[in-house]
Symmetry: C2
Subunit: 121 residues, 2 copies
DNA sequence: GCGCTTAACTTGCATTTTGCAAGTTAAGTT
DNA sequence: AACTTAACTTGCAAAATGCAAGTTAAGCGC
């Protein structure tokens, strides 16, 4: 069982693929990274405006996870949440290659199952 | 809410990244693909021998999902399960790029959080 | 052909995660 | 100071996950 407490990931093995999935293997985390790659910065409300309609409790949970992992950060560390936004860190920016590979793969292979899928390149 | 019935994925949007996550956004599906990339073919029991120790009910569920999506298939379509194994289809093989990107990313970025992580390249 | 072994699952149930909807807090505005 | 509202939190129901035991029938040996 994988139990996640603050800053305490339960790694299933030493394999890097497995480890990536231990932290990002859910339906929402990489979508938040996608939004930040597309827009640069995002506020809490802006995340909820994406087409996929994330619930606010899941959004809060994932933003905390991604912050704790050093993948995203506040734009201005010294400002309150209300007057602030999120952006990707260096590690977060390096997820672009993963997202591009995922997007290409599903555009090329899922058009039969999902005829409305569009290319984003 | 995403509800998965046989061959009925609930796509959250038309974005290919979102769509990839609709089907592969969990901790186990891409791990099974990893095992097939590494070994070529795998039987049901061989999947359970991997370091991560998947539960058999989850394994059965994910194998069915991946088969239904055309990502994996039986090695010999005409043989019983007991005398058979799984392999990747063409679409499944094309996930290698995604897995390599994930593995590289976490090896380069998660070593502080996960000191035992190893390179698989 | 029968009996046994066991691989490939299935099932029951507890736990955890997800998600809806409403609520809370306090920052920002007037 | 009062009001508005962005960023969350909470309670609860539903769904997913996972443990452990059980079932089915394929495959093998005799």
């Amino acid at each position: 069982m994988t139990r996640k407490t603050s800053r305490s990931i339960e790694w299933r093995s030493e394999c890097p693929i497995s480890s990536a999935l231990d932290i990002l293997g859910d339906k929402w985390s990489l979508l938040l990274v996608r939004d930040l790659i597309q827009h640069g910065t995002r506020t809490y409300s802006e995340f909820t405006e994406a087409k996929e309609k994330i619930s606010t409790n899941i959004l809060a949970d994932r933003l905390k996870l991604l912050s704790d992992l050093g993948i995203i950060e506040r734009v201005a560390a010294d400002r309150s949440a209300r007057n602030n936004a999120y952006q990707l860190t260096k590690a977060g920016l390096e997820l672009r290659e993963v997202l591009e590979a995922l997007g290409r793969w599903s555009y090329e292979n899922m058009r039969e199952s999902h005829p409305e899928i569009v290319s984003i390149d």
